[in-house]
């Protein structure tokens, strides 16, 4: 494997020296392209109070290709599926090399504040969210409590 590009070193240093509120990203000891991430559930969202674990991997092509990101904590969200994959345009066709790990994590945090059930995806959470938003939000709160708060897992 080729050496770590300067950009990844720089991004990592900046992430550690100027952390983003409510987000932590720590590179893995054994693989500096792999980050252990936590995102705090945003205020006034059904995820408030939860701490969500994610994993982020910078592929060989990065920054020409987007980072791969996945939730490791179970979450009830119309744009995140059962195994934690995230439906977010900048992780797919709207990726640009001007974006960074920081901007990606901020976008995911924003997605928690503003779930988008109209983004076409094949999962029942989105259906529930559209059919009965109040009930869906209640379930999301319960899941946050159950899986994303200390004591739960």
């Amino acid at each position: 494997m080729a050496g770590l590009p300067r950009r990844i070193t720089k991004e990592t240093q900046r992430l550690l020296s100027e952390p983003v509120q409510g987000i932590s990203a720590t590179p893995d000891e054994n693989n500096l392209r792999y980050f252990h991430v936590t995102i705090n559930g945003p205020k006034d969202s059904p995820f408030e109070g939860g701490v969500f674990k994610l994993e982020l991997f910078l592929p060989e092509e990065y920054p020409m290709a987007a980072p791969k990101v996945r939730f490791n904590t179970k979450i009830y969200h119309p744009n995140i599926d059962k195994i934690g994959r995230i439906c977010l345009d900048i992780l797919k066709d709207k990726w640009s090399p001007a974006l960074q790990v920081r901007t990606v994590l901020l976008s995911i945090q924003a997605l928690l504040s503003a779930p988008n059930p109209d983004d076409p995806l094949a999962n029942d959470v989105a259906d529930n969210w559209k059919r009965n938003e109040a009930a869906a939000i209640k379930t999301a709160r319960e899941w946050t409590q159950k899986y994303a708060m200390s004591g739960g897992q």
């Binding site: 392209r33 994993e55 195994i83």
Partner: protein, 159 residues
């Protein structure tokens, strides 16, 4: 737009760590029968890799005729974009001194390229991206090919 989770290419996203070797290289790991396996590593590295879009990579042998044409057209278009070199003496009103693709500061006489939106990058950095997507990384403006060609022919006359 299809749905986000239905596509098969996403399935191997499941373990990010296992993807360390890059999931796109599956074919490369199994060399064609005529190539002795122990040479495959060197063979891979010396081959030019073409990137048709982010995450879609081919070696020259794997390109279809249609894709070869696309690559050649794209290379031709990129050639029409103005190139320049970084000049420290003229940077007073340029706020951005760092190439946002590699995050390294521009150095004196380094080749850079301007896009029509006037965003600029290292020549190698932006050309690598433009081969995948004909857009400006910073403002996401599509680089207009038609505009480029007319711009270029005007420039030939004037200078």
């Amino acid at each position: 737009m299809g749905n986000c989770f239905g596509s098969e290419e996403d399935v191997d996203d499941i373990s990010l760590l296992r993807n360390e070797e890059s999931s796109d290289d599956d074919e490369l790991r199994y060399p064609p029968p005529y190539m002795p396996p122990y040479q495959s590593d060197q063979g891979e590295q010396s081959q030019t890799i073409y990137h048709l879009s982010p995450g879609q990579s081919r070696t020259a042998n794997e390109l279809t005729e249609e894709e070869k044409v696309r690559v050649a057209q794209r290379e031709g278009l990129i050639d029409h974009l103005p190139r320049n070199t970084w000049d420290e003496n003229h940077v007073t009103n340029k706020k951005v001194r760092e190439c946002c693709i590699c995050m390294i500061d521009f150095e004196q006489d380094e080749p850079i390229r301007y896009l029509p939106c006037m965003h600029y990058y290292h020549l190698d950095c932006i050309d690598d991206w433009l081969m995948r997507s004909f857009t400006c990384p910073t403002c996401m403006e599509p680089v207009d090919a038609a505009l480029l060609l007319s711009y270029d022919s005007q420039n030939l006359d004037s200078g």
